[in-house]
Symmetry: C2
Subunit: 144 residues, 2 copies
Amino acid sequence: MAASDWSEHVHAVLSEAGLKRGGARERVIELLAREPCALSAVEIEDELRARGRPTGRASVYRVLELLAEHGLVERVAVGDGQTRFERSQPGGDHHHHLVCEQCGRLVAFDDPGLEHAIDRLSERLGVTIDSHDVLLRGACRSCG
Amino acid sequence: MAASDWSEHVHAVLSEAGLKRGGARERVIELLAREPCALSAVEIEDELRARGRPTGRASVYRVLELLAEHGLVERVAVGDGQTRFERSQPGGDHHHHLVCEQCGRLVAFDDPGLEHAIDRLSERLGVTIDSHDVLLRGACRSCG
DNA sequence: CATTATCTGGGAATGAGTCTCATTCCCGTT
DNA sequence: AACGGGAATGAGACTCATTCCCAGATAATG
């Protein structure tokens, strides 16, 4: 899904939900569309200000919350005390992350074996799993 | 590993590292030894005060940091804005958690299949994995 | 028991995230 | 094009976990 497709998809979903448009929303969506890397609310606020489009903190958090509610972004926790957000893949596809302890870079990956193991786990434990997160810590290929 | 064994192990490791003893340290260690469930620093501070052994906030955080550095406790992030800590198992054994979205309870589990999937992943991606976290969100057996 | 490095705790500082509320904006209706 | 009401926005106060600072207490050692 290209950035522009994602952004169109977002607008379609939000309009479908009967929501109006607004400057702050457009700006945050546009930024997320162009920067697929996981961004924190603070980074988004700073980046928008740096681009000469200052946007209220409350609005940034509101937009992120709204997008998350509609499954349009995913929260990514990498263990620094901040919540990061990145646009989610279509069709329920999702990936996880490796945090490189040397360079701090975030490496995305997906793995059917891992997903399968989690599915089986759900049955074994007799619980319902709505969602899951996996975070690896280590050295990325360049640093390892 | 029984609680008392863990507590002895902790004292052995810290003494080996040439550290002195102190009241705050003893109190936090004792509490963690008896309550294997993942506790946050705030909960620890409150619980100690409730037991009539008030302990400075800074000391609680310092002890937890110290124990974590020596691999004696593990940080558990469940996505509320707090870091939780629980005594770590011997021999590198470890488990993961399911957060019940209904009752908020934390359910611990382990799964060789999951660990295996992560091991293979390391090879497939060509990266070194030092540690990993898995967090499931869903409904526990009583709520599901 | 003197010495000294370590430990402790009160409180101020920090920083992410939340809340409030007055103002502004969008958009269907007139 | 003007209107009206609900939605969206933003400034800043606020919460709350965590960190920092520093002066005073304490444990181990000789």
